[in-house]
Symmetry: C2
DNA sequence: CACTCCTTGTTGAAATTTCAACATACAAAA
DNA sequence: TTTTGTATGTTGAAATTTCAACAAGGAGTG
């Protein structure tokens, strides 16, 4: 039981809610924990999008099936992670994905309507959770926006450079580590791993970057600024 | 003055707030309207991300400048549209973009902190606006997710088919109209217009779709289901 | 050490996309 | 009517990506 509270406490949905108040909050929200066997659907495509879920133990996968019947994996969820919040908050009727237990898993489900409508005694945790939810969804938004900015570039080289520059900006240094290995980076950039390796090699040979494993360093990367300054109206 | 209220009333941020209460809400939020000349920056890159903006008149553009100094246009905002909400709600310090008036424009700016912290007399509009904001941000999330699903496909053909199938699903029919002309569709799919036209022609000749202007019809598209059923564990 | 597994880099051919250019159709304007 | 402009389709060459296959270098294991 303790371990549940540890996970909740680390979960951004419960940020700034005092540990001793979590239990009360859960009661107020009528949160319940359900168990799922490996392969079992936690949420099936077409089911009402009414709940926010939190992985407590085990591992879940979000899948989507296209018109051809091809199933593709969208995300992999580990304990502490949230799912379904965008669907529930956006007010759509049915979830367009299936969430499945990749191994035996326990999941906490919270009715989003309950969360969103203030309870009768207007408890303050409630309000805090709504703000947390807003923060979480907005942050995810920025992550998506950034991914789109990167992957909208047409060539592997441009995608890679855009990604590296964003990382440098975010980490505030020209030398930094990325959270992906080569295959994962290729997946993120939506390009072929071999082509990515080739492009990294090319940039390295041109002296624009240093790269080994997850550590990158940008060299002759930054001094090209202002190239297009004064180009107003052209956009 | 009346026209401002018309725009606000149509703005999703003020959904379910009675027209006669809007003025009071604005006062409570200390909302103010500012004017900007053409080319002037409404929000400059690096400025604190504290406000949500609503375009009242004119037109704004969201720009981003990369490390090379290349400026690229991210969005085009017309009256009634919101901007800055993801940055403000996600709690990041500085906006990573510049919002600029593309023509003379009036903008309403609302301090997100004021919006998010309940006011002293806990007015109910307040709460409704937070929920509206949550709904808006979550809906944008789904739009991004969908765009990523489409553009993550590797070929023009796959991108196009994925997009058309999603449209068909959303509109609930196999014959439907899309909101883009060819150039705009190519931009959305992140492909070349000429290549897109070629691919549409190919699909048409193969009898899989009918297409003229913005009207599409999917024909031998749907019966390929279940091809990969039973492929568990392979994902 | 030998062996396996895994990550990364490399390579060349095939497939695909981009790019530039032009053809056609249609609508609006003169 | 002619003219102009815009949207769309088409084409071929150049550039790029994908694909399949293999090589090299660790890390871990027996």
């Amino acid at each position: 039981m303790k371990k549940y509270f540890d996970i909740l406490h680390a979960c951004p949905l419960f940020r700034d809610i005092a540990p001793q108040e979590v239990a009360k909050t859960l009661e107020c929200l009528n949160a319940r924990i359900s168990s799922f066997d490996k392969g079992e659907a936690v949420l099936s495509e077409g089911a009402p999008a009414s709940h926010v879920g939190i992985v407590m133990t085990g591992r879940l996968q979000i899948e989507q099936t296209d018109f051809f019947g091809n199933r593709s994996m969208i995300a992999n969820l580990i304990p502490g992670e949230l799912f379904g919040e965008s669907f529930a908050c956006a007010g759509i009727k049915e979830v367009p994905v299936t969430v499945r237990a990749a191994e035996h898993a326990e999941v906490m489900l919270i009715d989003c309507l309950k969360l969103v409508r203030s309870c009768s005694d207007a408890c303050p945790f409630h309000q805090q959770m709504i703000l947390n939810l807003l923060q979480i969804v907005a942050a995810k938004n920025l992550i998506f926006q950034q991914k789109i900015e990167v992957t909208s570039k047409r060539t592997t080289r441009e995608k890679l450079m855009t990604y590296l520059m964003l990382q440098a900006r975010q980490q505030g240094r020209l030398e930094f580590e990325i959270p992906y290995d080569r295959q994962e980076l290729a997946d993120y950039l939506e390009v072929e791993r071999s082509g990515l390796s080739a492009e990294i090699g090319k940039l390295r040979r041109q002296g624009m970057i240093e790269a080994e494993h997850r550590r990158f360093k940008l060299c002759n990367f930054v001094n090209h600024r202002e190239r297009s300054s004064g180009c107003f109206g052209g956009l």
